[in-house]
C-alpha cells in the first residue's frame, strides 16, 4: 500500500455536549471583528450619502424663490442679472439631441459589429483597446479635437453642429463600450441555438440578441445624455457663447450653424464671470441642470426595469 499522502487532521478536543455550542474566546473575537467591519462599511455609506442629500437640499432651498414657469421660458436679461434660462435650456436640449442622433446609431451598430461579427484578431484587439482608452480621455481633449476638426477643418465655425459633433465624439466610445457589455451579457447558448437552425448572424441578432440586450443598450445610451448635458469643456470652444437672445417659447430658435447658449456654460459664466448676479439665479440654473440629469437617469432606470421584466431566462 502506498504511504498516506493526505493524513487526516488531528482530531479536535472532545468537548462535553453542554459546552459544545457556547462561545469560546476565539469566536467572541471573531464576532467583535465582524461588528467592527459592518460598522465601518455602514459609516462610509453614510458619509457618501450625506453630502449628496445636503447638496440637493441646499440647491433647492437656495433656488426656491426663483423657480417658476417664467424662469424656464424667459431669456436671461439685464446682463445676466435677471430673467430666466430659456436660451441656455433650449441650447442644451439641441446639442444633446443632435449629438445622440449621431453617436447612438454609430456607436450601437459598431458595437454590434465588434461583438457579433468581428473575429478575434490583433486588429479587433487594437480597436477594443482604443475604445476603452478613448472612453477615459478627458473631455477637454475632445474639445480641442472638435475645434480642429469641426470648427476649422470642416468650416462649421463655432456652432450648434460643431458642438454637437464634438459631444458625439466624446460619447461614442462609452456607448460602444456599454453596448458591447450589454451584448456580451446575452448567453452564448442562445446564439448557438440560432446558428444551428441555420439562422444567419443578422437573423440571430435581430431575433434574439437585440431583444435581450436592448435594456442594457438603452441604459448606456441614456446615461450619455446626462453626460453630454453636463459637460462644459467640449462646447466652450466649439459654439457655446456667453449670451445670445432668442425668441422666447420658440423651440426652433437655433439654426444648426448658429452659436448658442447652454446650461452648463451658462452656470459657469454666472458663477465666475458676472459680478452681482442674484444668488437664486445661479442656484436656479444649477437645479434645472441637476433636475434634468436626474430625470434622464431616472428614465434610464425605469426603462431598464420595464424592459428587464420582459426578458427572463
Amino acid at each position: 500500500m502506498a504511504t498516506d499522502i493526505n493524513p487526516a487532521p488531528t482530531s479536535p478536543k472532545i468537548v462535553s455536549p453542554e459546552l459544545m455550542f457556547t462561545a469560546t474566546k476565539h469566536s467572541r473575537k471573531r464576532q467583535l471583528t465582524e461588528n467592527v467591519a459592518r460598522g465601518v462599511f455602514f459609516a462610509m455609506t453614510l458619509l457618501m450619502i450625506l453630502p449628496l442629500i445636503l447638496i440637493v437640499v441646499y440647491l433647492f432651498v437656495k433656488a426656491a424663490p426663483i423657480l417658476s414657469l417664467e424662469f424656464f421660458f424667459s431669456n436671461p436679461a439685464k446682463g445676466m442679472r435677471a430673467g430666466g434660462i430659456w436660451a441656455p435650456l433650449l441650447g442644451t436640449i439641441y446639442i444633446v439631441i443632435i449629438s445622440l442622433l449621431v453617436s447612438a446609431p454609430i456607436g450601437v451598430l459598431a458595437a454590434v459589429y465588434l461583438n457579433e461579427y468581428a473575429r478575434e484578431s490583433w486588429f479587433t484587439r487594437i480597436i477594443n483597446l482604443a475604445v476603452v482608452n478613448l472612453a477615459g480621455v478627458p473631455s477637454i481633449v475632445h474639445a480641442l479635437f472638435g475645434v480642429g476638426a469641426f470648427v476649422y477643418f470642416a468650416r462649421m465655425g463655432r456652432s450648434v453642429l460643431a458642438a454637437s459633433l464634438t459631444l458625439a465624439i466624446m460619447t461614442l466610445p462609452v456607448i460602444i463600450a456599454s453596448t458591447k457589455e450589454a451584448l456580451g451579457a446575452v448567453p452564448m447558448a442562445f446564439r448557438e441555438a440560432c446558428w444551428n437552425t441555420g439562422a444567419t448572424r443578422w437573423q440571430t441578432i435581430r431575433g434574439i440578441v437585440l431583444p435581450n440586450s436592448i435594456s442594457g443598450i438603452l441604459t448606456g445610451v441614456i446615461l450619455q445624455v446626462s453626460r453630454a448635458a453636463g459637460e462644459t469643456a467640449p462646447i466652450m470652444f466649439t459654439g457655446a457663447v456667453f449670451f445670445k437672445a432668442i425668441s422666447e417659447g420658440d423651440v426652433f430658435a437655433y439654426g444648426l450653424l448658429d452659436r448658442f447658449m447652454a446650461l452648463s456654460m451658462h452656470l459657469y459664466q454666472l458663477s465666475t464671470q458676472v459680478p452681482g448676479v442674484p444668488e437664486a439665479l445661479e442656484y436656479g440654473t444649477a437645479v434645472v441642470l441637476l433636475g434634468a440629469v436626474l430625470m434622464v437617469n431616472a428614465l434610464a432606470i425605469v426603462l431598464r426595469v420595464y424592459l428587464r421584466s420582459r426578458q427572463r431566462w
Binding site: E192, A193, T197, G198, A199, R312
Partner: protein
C-alpha cells in the same frame, strides 16, 4: 428500396482525411469515418478527444467559433459540405444540433418550434393554422404535446430541464433535418429525464440519422447501433456497439471502456 440497396449500407455522413486545427492546436487528425444512414451512432472518448469538434464539423458550425482551419472532406448524403456552392443556412437546416445544456430560446414554446421555419421562409408571416399544425406535430413527436398544449405561450426558458431538452429536439423537426447531432444531450438531466430522452432518440432513429456524443458508456450501449471511440483527435475504433464493448479490437478502447482512464 431495391433489395440490392438494402444489402449495401448507405451512409449519410462520410469523412475523408478530415483534419482540423484551432489556431496551432490540431484537434482532429486524419478522421475518416462512415456513419450509417438511419442509425444511432455513438461517439465516445475522454474529454478533449475531439468528439464535439467532430460533431460540429458536420454542420460546419465550428467556423463560428473563431480561428478554425479544416482540411479533408465531409460528405453529407453524398455531397461534400466544404464545396464552394454549399449554403451554410441550408446545411444547418438539414443537419440540426442538440446541446449538452438545453438551450431553448428566450421566447415562447410556440415561437421556439417555428423559429427555424421563420428563419428559412421567405414570406414573413405564415398562416396561423399552418403553424398551429406544425407546432402540434412537432410537440407530439417528442411527447410534449399533452404537457404543454395549454402552455404554448409560456416562455420556454421557464420549463423544466427535461421539457426544455425535448423542446430543443422538437425545434429541429419542422425543418425536416436528415441528420441530428446530439452533444451529450442527457448530461444535464436526471435519471428519468435521461430515460425519456433516450426513448425519444430510439423512436426518432430510422427517420433521422442520429449522432450522439456521450460520456456515459452505459448510455452508449443502450441507445447506439454503432459506436466510435476517439482518443486525442483520432478515431481508434469504429464498429457495432456490441462488438466494441464486448470484443474491443484495440487495447486503448478496452482500457477506456473498462474505466482505466477517461
Amino acid at each position: 428500396m431495391s433489395p440490392d440497396k438494402k444489402q449495401s449500407k448507405s451512409y449519410s455522413v462520410e469523412t475523408r482525411q478530415l483534419n482540423l486545427w484551432y489556431g496551432d492546436f490540431q484537434a482532429l487528425i486524419n478522421v475518416s469515418v462512415k456513419v450509417v444512414d438511419g442509425l444511432i451512432t455513438g461517439l465516445i472518448g475522454p474529454s478533449g478527444c475531439g468528439k464535439t469538434t467532430l460533431l460540429r464539423c458536420f454542420n460546419r458550425v465550428n467556423e463560428r467559433y473563431g480561428n478554425v482551419t479544416t482540411t479533408g472532406e465531409v460528405e453529407i448524403l453524398g455531397k461534400n459540405i466544404y464545396d464552394a456552392d454549399v449554403s451554410l443556412p441550408e446545411l444547418r437546416k438539414n443537419v440540426g444540433m442538440v446541446f449538452q445544456r438545453p438551450n431553448p430560446l428566450p421566447i415562447s414554446v410556440y415561437e421556439n418550434i417555428i423559429f427555424g421555419l421563420r428563419v428559412h421562409s421567405e414570406r414573413r408571416i405564415r398562416k396561423r393554422s399552418d403553424t398551429d399544425n406544425i407546432v402540434e406535430t412537432a410537440l407530439r413527436e417528442v411527447h410534449l404535446w399533452d404537457d404543454l398544449k395549454d402552455q404554448l405561450k409560456v416562455k420556454a426558458t421557464t420549463l423544466q430541464l427535461e421539457q426544455q431538452q425535448k423542446l430543443c429536439i422538437a425545434r429541429l423537426l419542422p425543418l425536416k433535418p436528415r441528420v441530428i447531432l446530439m452533444d451529450e444531450p442527457c448530461s444535464a438531466l436526471d435519471a428519468k429525464g435521461t430515460r425519456t430522452v433516450e426513448e425519444l432518440m430510439l423512436e426518432l432513429a430510422g427517420q433521422y440519422t442520429i449522432l450522439i456524443v456521450t460520456h456515459n458508456m452505459a448510455q452508449a450501449r443502450r441507445v447506439s447501433n454503432e459506436c466510435i471511440f476517439m482518443l486525442l483527435g483520432e478515431i481508434i475504433e469504429h464498429s457495432h456497439t456490441e462488438d466494441l464493448f464486448l470484443t474491443p479490437q484495440n487495447s486503448k478502447t478496452a482500457d477506456y471502456i473498462e474505466g482505466r482512464y477517461g
